[in-house]
Symmetry: C2
């Protein structure tokens, strides 16, 4: 986690991760026109998305430490979409950004191992170890318990990568399972204890382990409670902005050194040009302005 | 779910789904030799896996109703692996097999919608609706609650596809979250109630809804209990064979019409040639013999 934290510090403690969840609806018309209408609709869509992503990265990389592509928005464009995902991740890393791939994988032991190899480990092919996709960190789902999480923990330690386990998600119905009470403790607290345990052996120079937690900005009380209970766990916080989380809510995820969390904004940054007086061609500048506004908004509330 | 059930009936009530989770370790040497050593190791691996899968499908399609590729084992070979996944699914469907893609996706509403479009719905590109991947059914993870499941339910209804929600998984630590007791009811029972509710509007001619459940063969008591509590829910049962589930265990998942469940075997079928007197070239025949043995084993215990 030190690598991510150092990227945050290097960008003046900017705790923003730009979510790259591009739908074609978000991409300005002038880019769509260039690429759609190709013989293979997926190839055209993927080119449009990559051009959109590339400009966003170019306009953000010197002030925003990380990007978080959401795999679903690439998988929906098939093989071409996945090629675009890989190109986007490679490009962001070439610009020095930390890449967290939001895949929320989770499976039984042997299969979790395959997923882990795909994203944060290496695949063995005829005695050669190769990387299929190379993000710096990923998100994972804990429904299958520890044996589904351990392969990710192992690969994170061995390859200097990070894993963010879903603890309390930002969506309205997250409580249906996550908030159920067992022996006076909620399920997300049980998950939190599990995550804390898995990270104990990898606490780095800044006091945080390689095993992080996803905790939504839309549940500030839980965010505050979990920050206290998980002092060595770095948080990935979705739900700021479009989903309703405010700066004073996400501020609860931080420690006294202005560290401890990275806050995602997807639509807010990608579609910034649709608000105010921007021309579509200025979508990158608009994204940058929103990223600055968001940084200042959050940091002004962090004590 | 009728389409799957009719495929099962057409294959003499064979309740087997062949899990296609190919690791290179499973592929016979004579196939590996042909393909590995290519300039792009991923392309070579993907060719080897496809040849392996194709022969398995050729040897199984007239007696086994369905295949279940596990996405992780393709994602670990990158873009080339995913191309192999798509080719495998297309090929199995061209042979009349029902394809359940084991992806265990789960996310918040808008993202679940994107995943759903990727696999069982359609992606809109410039006003054209296209299919990114085209399996007949998929598995999904319920940790995020109903709003993460509803997009899949909607697409299943609109596109005549099926969704299997993880209820009680087959792995040793599945109980860590799934067996916790809330108000006298275990989490997996809560999930079961949720799944039952989501399927109520899509019960087909054979009495089963489009929304199925994943229930592991390794927990026979729970399998029996859930069969009683979920009379309209079709089960996808992993864990038979290599993981320890026996025919008398999985038999509990069936109804009095010898329907109600499809039982997965991956390693047992794919690696059948490694047991007994088979030559490596006979891996397809060995898989077929094992699929016959498994069918007879299970059906002999179904009342």
């Amino acid at each position: 986690m030190d690598k991510l934290i150092e990227a945050i510090i290097a960008k003046d403690y900017n705790p923003t991760v730009a979510g790259l969840d591009p739908k074609l609806d978000y991409v300005p018309e002038f880019i769509l026109k260039k690429h759609l209408g190709a013989d293979d609709p997926f190839a055209g869509a993927a080119e449009a998305l990559f051009e959109f992503n590339k400009t966003l990265i170019d306009c953000l990389y010197d002030i925003v430490p990380a990007v978080k592509p959401q795999s679903a928005y690439y998988e929906m464009y098939g093989i071409e979409g996945l090629k675009c995902l890989k190109r986007t991740m490679d490009y962001a890393q070439s610009k020095g950004m930390y890449v967290i791939l939001d895949v929320k994988r989770g499976d039984i032991g042997a299969t979790a191992e395959a997923y882990s190899r795909a994203y944060i480990g290496k695949t063995d092919i005829g005695g050669k170890a190769v990387r299929a996709f190379g993000p710096d960190g990923i998100t994972v789902n804990p429904y299958l318990g520890t044996d589904g999480l351990k392969p990710f923990v192992k690969d994170a330690e061995e390859n200097d990568k990070t894993v963010f386990v879903l603890v309390k998600t930002s969506n309205p119905s997250s409580g249906e399972l996550q908030d159920l009470v067992v022996d006076g403790e909620r399920i997300y607290e049980k998950t939190a204890a599990l995550v804390r345990g898995l990270g104990e052996t990898s606490v780095g120079a800044h006091g945080y382990s390689n095993i992080g937690a996803v905790v939504g900005a839309t549940y500030p009380e839980q965010l505050k409670e979990l920050r206290e209970k998980m002092p060595n766990t770095f948080f990935l916080v979705p739900g700021y902005g479009a989903q309703g989380g405010r700066a004073e809510d996400v501020a609860l995820a931080f420690d006294k050194n202005r560290l401890g969390a990275i806050v995602n904004s997807s639509r807010g940054i990608m579609c910034a040009y649709k608000k105010g007086d921007w021309r579509p061609e200025q979508f990158g500048e608009a994204a940058r302005a929103e990223a600055v506004r968001m940084r200042d908004d959050i940091l002004s509330h962090v004590k």
